[in-house]
Symmetry: C2
């Protein structure tokens, strides 16, 4: 039976949706409006890229799916909180995301800030419950928590977001845009592929391979995002094409032009694929995923 | 030699300051403005109540001080992030705290939101690094992470903050104000006393005693806060007395009056002290601490 990426994506996405529904099964005594505000953004039709990469990496190293889903959901909770806060009036001031009103347009600024805080904290709560894992994984759990926080925090995503904000309208240069992408989106994508290997206690060679893969695939993904914002279809994107240029955002096309950006995506895709060698045929879904990420049009 | 609370407080506070300086020793490639914004609020002259309670609880159960300081700093990072976000224009819109400008008044709203996000994430990074702990504590680390996230998130602090916001200007009632205090400030105070015991792998009786103590002391602390906001000295408080009443905040004095609130503080203090019996003379600092919290005038 040959490998079908659309089927693979669909089956993984369904698992992620089920995993997230499990996270949001029981509100306990959470204030209703907070619960709804968090759910509004979590179930907003995201591509679930990070969770899918996480599940695919888990398969490559033999981490049980139930454990992998904990990391996958934590990643999506963190990704979602970062979108809510980025969209706030004080930051990007976006009214729409994926064709729907942004969180603060529906629930107000105060609730959007607190829903973001709630989702970020919930990510660590959901990830670090030892009773959710088989014994052999439990001993690696603190380290996984540590690395996730590192990648999500000032050394990673939050730091990249700050650099993105303060670099607006400045003269684009490759070193700076690379540094922003590496942290703002790259850090969480490395987590997606590396953390399942750490939790499984995989051979260091495999941990390294998934780290290299995540690094290259993550940057390729972000450059494609930059390119699509420049030349893509607003309807498909669910947001206004050209908005990066209008805001003076630091992007690859702004720094090195469209053609060189496209070449860079190709080089990075090859690099990601080549890192997968150590997995043999088990690396097939990850290979198909990075090619898909590089060739997407939305 | 008799026990001196002022000396004890001073020596613990110094340790906490040193611990926090260790957290902020190396910015790596963190954007300068983010680093400064986080430090501005961390080193803003806070009382360090949560860290001191944590160190005192650690002594009572024999947790090594270096390990306890990790929890203590994580608690202060979380407490500080929550103050930065609470002060934002969309929430309490406060210009001053402890007599200094609030974070967003100095660094702007965008940076204040991101500094809060950075501090919250850093708390989990700082707490969960397994290499910082002796082997016998490492196995309890994930559980400690889990509980901290639980207390800081929607089931605890964030949930309480939301309820506080949506209850403004509503008719005060005891059940509601109790529920807000239990989560908004109580949850993190329980963490302060309970988590050192969990990390040490202490006897369940001692874990329970410190949980009871933290619960009673935390509520007493918050009621005193309510009372001081009503009758205290603005200069000593570092913020305007009467501000709760002006905003229609749900407080103990608003719900049950000043006299009953004071009685409640006394009852809770006795309850906290009585929970300490199991520690014998080792409970002395914690006893002095809760009495001090109940009798403070600022």
């Amino acid at each position: 039976m040959s490998f079908s990426l659309p089927n693979y994506l669909e089956s993984k996405r369904l698992k992620v949706e089920k995993g997230l529904m499990e996270v949001f099964k029981n509100p306990g005594d959470c204030p209703k409006v907070l619960w709804e505000s968090m759910k509004y953004s979590i179930f907003a039709g995201g591509k679930r890229l990070r969770p899918v990469l996480c599940l695919a990496s888990a398969e490559a190293v033999g981490l049980p799916e139930k454990s992998a889903l904990r990391i996958a959901c934590a990643l999506e909770l963190i990704h979602t909180y970062s979108l809510i806060h980025d969209d706030l009036p004080a930051l990007d001031n976006d009214d729409y995301r994926r064709g729907r009103k942004t969180n603060h347009k529906v629930y107000g600024e105060a609730m959007a800030i607190l829903a973001g805080d709630g989702l970020l904290t919930l990510a660590f709560q959901w990830l670090s419950d030892p009773s959710a894992y088989p014994t052999k994984c439990q001993k690696n759990l603190a380290k996984v928590n540590y690395e996730l926080a590192w990648h999500a925090g000032y050394p990673g995503m939050v730091g990249g977001q700050v650099d993105d904000v303060i670099s607006e309208k400045k003269r684009p240069n490759l070193a700076k845009v690379f540094s922003i992408h590496r942290r703002k989106t790259g850090a969480l994508l490395i987590s997606s592929t590396r953390l399942p290997a750490l939790l499984a206690g995989a051979d260091p060679k495999k941990v390294k391979a998934l780290t290299e893969y995540g690094k290259a695939a993550g940057l390729a993904f972000q450059i494609v995002d930059d390119i699509l914002n420049e030349v893509g279809d607003s309807k498909k994107l669910g947001k206004a094409a050209g908005s990066d240029r209008e805001r003076g955002k630091m992007t690859y096309p702004a720094a090195i032009g469209l053609e060189r950006s496209k070449k860079e995506v190709k080089l990075l895709t090859d690099k990601a694929v080549s890192a997968l060698k150590v997995f043999g045929s088990k690396g097939q879904p990850l290979e198909a995923l990075v090619r898909h990420m590089a060739e997407r049009t939305y």
